[in-house]
């Protein structure tokens, strides 16, 4: 295979994560614009048997590194292996998920390859044969376009949930080449991994988020938000005030020093809309604000605002959504 755009697919516990398909789709658009093929590197235990599936998202060829010792992501072990595959396939650009592991991998990999890295990109384009990538800075208060120096390899991590996924090509299979680069003796290791099997949606990958702030008044009241989230199929987030008060786990914090999210719908309940919070959720497609203070800054960003006491309003909202869902099904 000649010149190619290469993606790094994320494989965890026997399956590719959805964001890998988004990355493949963006990779395909870029590869077409550049007039080159699309290949992939996939690392993991048991990945070789699944690798052909990436063909559904337009990947022509997958280099599969399948080894039981590579079951869980570990930077020290994955980076040399992936670097050696990339050196072999000599891509014009590398795209990978801006997931927790992907961003980590991208940073270390680009130091190893002396490449230029743009993290968390929301868009890539090709202008006159040159690649450009757009990424949020200051947690989304501004955006920057990145360009690469001649001869520098672009490594682009792609923010989950932003780039359009291609409609899967149901019967297309990618060519799979098993490769076995030398494994390194790592000094670090994964001691344990716990996955939440409750089906809870991850904030950074959620389509809908219901988020509660100081207005919730206490941890016990979040059951009300969880009820709403359940009928909406949403994840539950929080403001820093709620996290600092110990009402919610830190992993739920949305904002400049928490998670930067981009759902289709963000429902801010009892959140005033401080600049650090707005930075983290400002790129949501639709924003709903529920607050009893009509002057709350969140209303200046909300597509739909409701000035009400949340304790009266949220249960009624949940009931209305239930009605809608039952009439639709």
């Amino acid at each position: 295979m000649g010149k190619c755009v290469c993606i790094i697919a994320e494989f965890r516990h026997g399956a590719f994560r959805r964001v890998s398909y988004e990355v493949a789709s963006e990779g395909k658009r870029l590869a077409d614009a550049l007039g080159v093929g699309l290949c992939a590197v996939a690392v993991g235990s048991g990945v070789a048997d699944k690798a052909a599936e990436l063909g559904r998202y337009a990947v022509d060829k997958v280099f599969a590194v399948d080894d039981p010792s590579l079951e869980n992501y570990l930077a020290e072990a994955y980076v040399p292996v992936i670097a050696s595959v990339l050196e072999g396939c000599d891509p014009v650009a590398v795209l990978l998920p801006a997931s927790v592991d992907g961003k980590d991998l991208a940073a270390r990999l680009s130091a190893r390859l002396k490449a230029g890295l743009a993290q968390d990109c929301t868009q890539t384009v090709c202008e006159g044969g040159k690649i450009k990538a757009k990424r949020p800075i200051f947690a989304g208060k501004c955006y920057g376009w990145c360009e690469w120096a001649d001869g520098a390899l672009p490594i682009i991590s792609c923010r989950p949930n932003v780039m359009d996924c291609l409609a899967p090509l149901e019967d297309k299979k990618a060519e799979v080449e098993k490769v076995q680069p030398a494994l390194v003796q790592a000094r670090s290791c994964v001691k344990s991994m716990e996955l939440d099997t409750s089906g809870k949606v991850e904030l950074t990958e959620a389509e809908i988020i219901v988020s509660g702030g100081r207005g919730m008044k206490g941890p016990e009241n979040y059951t009300m938000l969880e009820d709403l989230a359940k009928v909406l199929g949403a994840a539950v987030g929080a403001s820093r005030a709620a996290v600092d008060s110990g009402w919610r786990p830190h992993a739920d914090q949305v904002g400049q020093t928490g998670k930067v999210v981009n759902p289709n719908l963000y429902v801010a309940v009892g959140i005033s809309g401080a600049i650090q919070h707005l930075a983290g959720m400002g790129s949501s497609k639709f924003i709903v604000a529920i607050n009893k203070d009509p002057e709350a800054p969140i209303f200046s960003k909300a597509d739909y605002g409701v000035v009400e006491d949340l304790f009266n309003f949220v249960p009624l909202l949940t009931e209305e959504v239930k009605k809608l869902k039952s009439s639709c099904s």
Binding site: N72, A75, E76, S99, V100, K103, A107, R108, A111, K114, G116, L117, Q119, D120, R135, P136, I137, F138, A139, C142, Y143, G144, E147, W148, A149, A152, P154, R187, S188, C189, V190, K191, E194, L195, T204, I208, R240, V243, D244, H250, Q253, T257, V260, Q276, G282, K285, I287, V288, P294, F299, K301, A302, Y304, G305, V306, L316, E319, E320, V321, L324
Partner: protein
Amino acid sequence: MNVAVLLKQTPDTESVIRIASDGKSVVTDDLKWVVNPYDEFAVEAALRLKEKHGGSVTVISCGPQRVVESIRTALAMGADTGVLIDDPALEGSDSLGVAMALAAAVKEINPDVVLCGSRAVDYDMAQRGPMVAELLGWPHLAMAVSMESDGKTVTIDRPIEGGKVVLESSLPAVVTFGGSHAVWNPRYASLPGIMKAKKKPLAVKKLADLGVDGSQAGTARVTMTSLEMPVARAAGKVIDGGLDTAGKATELVRALHEEAKVI
């Protein structure tokens, strides 16, 4: 146990960001500069290591002279010494260039562990910790929301999508910090701490002092060539129309279903 903390000075998170007339940088005149919050978490964690194992904490930062103030903040929190790498050659550099300079400074100090933020809240590059680790050939454990060390190994909790992993490494290693204020609760500088910090050693170095080739570290493989503001969000509509609470709930669900088509 000797600890090095990589610290970046960033604009306060309260800052309103405006694009400068060159179209590719932000207006810095009216910005208030602070220690990157994630680096404050790293300083806090470093001080806890020192409290447990003894040793010293060195703060290393790349940047212009104004960064001295932020290094002093860390010294006032309890760090022992500071190193500022201030070299005009770095102005045209990228994350990897800065990482080269930082890695060289770390080598000189030869610490047991390097702690840094998972990302700086200015350009959100999220790169330099793992890059420094790679350049040093050390393991790195990223996005710690807890850290333990017995002096020979370091163990962290790392949240991932839908779960968490526990990572361990022998020392020396690099650890980057995630989490939030609620997790690390970084200490404030005390008044005596601030007084003491003024007398603590703070060295200013050039790339040449660290044996770093300015043409390598000062070269950018990737640059930000233009900035743009996000699409302005106009305030939408407040659902009112004289409706009662239940009426507003009905109207909101209708709007989300029929107009926005998101539910």
